[in-house]
Symmetry: C2
Subunit: 238 residues, 2 copies
DNA sequence: ATGGAAATGCGGGTTAATACGTAGACTAGT
DNA sequence: ACTAGTCTACGTATTAACCCGCATTTCCAT
């Protein structure tokens, strides 16, 4: 009866990780048995430490949260996964829940909410932050309409993603064609297909979409670095 | 000699804030005298609590860190300000230091580094994370070349920013002209001036820049989700 | 007051992007 | 062998974007 609940923290921001540990250790029946700074470490840590629940960030180097969740749920389906992130977008929520997350809570939650969320997941329930559950409910009421965007995205082929990435980086069709050894006409076709599939109607929208998708500049910190996405490929020298 | 150093936490992510409090309270001579979730609250808290040092995030609602630092240093120049953020971009570093920050540390720093940074600022020194000081030195060696982007941005007029925002939202010139009651030619001119000033050469680059600058309120998913404006309250546990 | 910057607007011209239709080559699955 | 999907590519046409110079008005600061 004295056994503490074993918690694993997966979070790349060291200070937040240590802070969370300090916070959770104050709770009588919680025990932080380990920490990991990315998805790969997390999987190793689960094998070794067999925690009951994992608190997981989504945007991390090496292996991101979504992939990690998928792999963890494949190998250790009994482990509860509570996503702890700052991302409010339906994109992340949808992907996380689809990957098998048992809860989704925001980093601006309170201490109390975190505890409630952890206990919910420990007892087998699914916990969503109020903001998050609003979105989920709204999509549910809308008949999963916005899931159509996720569906549309899955219909985008890898070649098209490649083109999308370069478009978002500011490359002109001519540059993309040269870089990928294609005809401009082909690039235009890919671009046109992208816009049709995603229901976007110009280069700006494609760029905003790609950035939101995280196609540019791996980590979230440099996602808000104005100079990060603007690579020097516009020079045209390949 | 038993007086503890008075610390104020300014950070919008509640969990990190509480975690930091728990962390810093473990140090003998540190005392967290207050917390604030944005710049406006921070200024009020300083007036009331007169801390020696402020740990401040940069990206916050209501009033962001940069503005807050400027105002705090105007009114309470004796208060040390240590920026604690996840942003590694020269943009933020430059702006923060220019506004008067006494230190700049990243959220993936360790517990020990945080303590060292706080003590450095308390003793009147300037502390920069190793990664950060590297960048500062590099820019210094390059003769401040990359500060040119920050300078360029300041030369962008408010009307141009307005146009930039709409361009990044995917609006065509015609739409922008109608919305702002302008001639298409004028919009084209603003757009052209923006591209010249910022050294960007098409709509995609403008969009990426604007998103990096945080000119767009919503994320990409809500940008392509027409129903994203609706909100409703709902209980957390489902 | 007078110069400078900002905002607005036009003309003329070039280039790039977008829309739409068509179609061959290739791959993978049935 | 047949089918479906993707990647590739072209043609044609329209629209939007981009570049350059110039002019006007307003407003602010020296």
């Amino acid at each position: 009866m004295n056994a503490k609940h074993r918690i694993l923290l997966v979070e790349d921001h060291t200070l937040l990780r240590i802070g969370l540990r300090a916070l959770l250790c104050q709770i009588q029946d919680f025990e932080v048995v380990g920490e990991a700074a990315n998805g790969r470490e997390a999987i190793g840590a689960i094998k070794e430490l067999s925690p009951e629940i994992v608190l997981m960030d989504l945007t991390m180097p090496e292996m991101n949260g979504m992939e990690a969740i998928t792999q963890i749920k494949e190998r250790y389906p009994q482990v509860g996964i509570l996503v702890l992130t700052l991302h409010r977008s339906e994109e992340y929520i949808h992907e996380s829940l689809k990957a098998g997350a048992n809860g989704y809570i925001l980093k601006d939650a309170t201490h109390e909410e975190l505890c409630i969320a952890i206990r919910s997941v420990l007892s087998g329930k699914t916990y969503l932050s109020p903001d998050i559950s609003n979105k989920v409910v709204r999509v549910f009421l809308a008949g999963g309409k916005s899931a159509s965007l996720a569906f549309a995205w899955e219909s985008v082929t890898s070649r098209e993603r490649q083109v999308l990435k370069m478009v978002a980086e500011g490359c002109a069709n001519k540059i993309i064609a040269a870089y990928l050894s294609l005809s401009i006409k082909t690039v235009e076709k890919h671009r046109s297909n992208l816009m049709r599939k995603l229901d976007l109607h110009n280069a700006s929208m494609l760029t905003a979409f790609a950035i939101g998708k995280g196609l540019l500049s791996g980590d979230s910190s440099s996602a808000s670095d104005p100079s990060a996405g603007l690579v020097q490929r516009q020079d045209g020298v390949i």
